[in-house]
Amino acid sequence: MTTRERVATSDTGLIARMILRRVAIGIGMLAVVSLLVFFATQALPGDIARQLLGQTATPEQLARIRSELGLDRPAIVQYLDWVSGLVTGNLGDSLASGTPVSELLAVRVSNTAALVAISAAITLPLGVLLGTLAARRSGSWQDVSISSLMQGILALPEFVVGIVLVAVFAGLFGLVPPTSPLDPREAALAQGDLLVLPVATMVLIATPHLTESVKTLVRDQLAGDHVRWARLSGIRESRILGRYALRNVAGPSAQVGGVTINYLLGGTVAVEAVYSFPGIGSALVAAVAGRDIVVVQAIAMGVATVLVVTFLLADLIGILTDPRLRSTR
């Protein structure tokens, strides 16, 4: 018996250790992101004090407000303060309003969360479906038409997709409202009509990438030796697709799904601008323009955390569905 025969102990202890390792990596990534975000935003020319006081500022007022905001302390002290705040769940106070960022962004976070969640709930199954269909009939009219459509959308900036949807569905047909000024007093989900166009835009911009990736993954599986052997062993096509192709791409697809969530979160910036949607994407643009670095930092860290957790989940799906990843070797 050779050493290769050693059986990997696919017990829960091993899985737990692998998850812990990935959590540690995730935390490390967030640390890197925090350094990047903090010191990039620290390099800002001009500052919030000017922005706050506008053209009528006097040097004395500027100095006072800078010292009030702690902007005159050494960067490293500010960083350590900020990080220890983050660890204890304190995102800091907005430089512009003095309000805690968590309070300031609460409604926006729930709005964007609703937007991204609904979009993901449509995009993920849709992308997998279209990708599988295209892979299964590689070279067929379905494949070519799906991939041409996806190519076409990929060639358009997100805002163009949004503007076209507005022009057609709000302007031409008057089916839906052209803008989405969600009422902060109500849950985003209760204002369905205002979500229709933003969600449709997000789905359209995020689906092509997912579709293409799933198509490649499934096509590679279908071209694999194990599928050929299954065919030569008389296994039914439907079963081949399910057990031999789709099941094996669950892990990598979950990774691609993570990338899709990344796309969706990035897409909120342009989409929220098109629809005047009160979410964190538009808050980010405003905070960048207004030099409210505390808000910029909080949003960047929040988005990064969501994505780290998303990729952690994707890894988890990979570990649970691909026995090879559980192997000790």
């Binding site: 990534m29 992101v33 990047l36 935003t41 990929l154 900036p157 997100e158 342009a270 670095i293 990729f311």
Partner: protein, 290 residues
Amino acid sequence: MTSLDVPDITTPIHDRHTGSLLRAMLVDPRAWAGAVAVVAVVVVTLLGPLIAPTPPGEFVARAYAAPAPGLPLGADNLGRDVLSRVLVGGGAFLVEGLIAAALGIGVGVVLGMLIGISGRRTAGFLLFLSDSVMVIPQILLVLIILAAFGANPVTLTVSVALAQIAYTARVVNAATQGVVTEDYFRAARASGAGRAGLLFREVLPNIIGVVLVEFGVRLSVCFVALASLSYLGFSSGAVSWGAMIHENQGGITLQPLAVFAPVIMIAVFLLGMNLVRDALARAVAGRSAR
């Protein structure tokens, strides 16, 4: 000296280095369609300034005047001829995107190859860093960099370029791994090739297809990013398609052509680029399959 029979090659042995990729693409109708689109846009860009009916700054009509005889694409937000501005504005935009993509690709390729040939620990650490950067959505990364350095043509181009590096490095690293584990790479090392020799004589020629495909991808991403940033209000100022989007988005319901004319040019260019890129990717895949 040896009596062994060598299978005779009857045809003359001459290869063209880059021939295989090019030949594969020449017979691909989608590559042709893409190339035609790209060339058309480039030709418009080059000839545009010569054939523009009016100087791009001249006021010829009311702001957002609708298309009319002599004003085929209508007027922009200041009553200037949209057609003329589209004809003149391609150069700046294409150059910005090209520079951004080339810059991102250049740094990313070198970085990716370096990661690929460095030791496990160094490579692991660098990959961890690039993964960390990639956790941030690209537009957010660009906005943070823009916030740090302000928005002007240089920072705009550079920040978009910077945002590409991690992605390119990752792809190039993966391709480099494929070369590093090949014996010809070991053979070169054994014959005393230096680091630069390894990178540029052994690795680069063998991943050039991947690099070209990646360049296509990055070019699309950079153009889309620049257009989107223009829309968000971060624009470079000069007469450029990106700036046109920015200037005229206020009148999009009134005079959609002022925004869509440059967008269509960008989209046609990108679509063409994507078709060429995909054909190239198929050709590269076809070659490595042999």
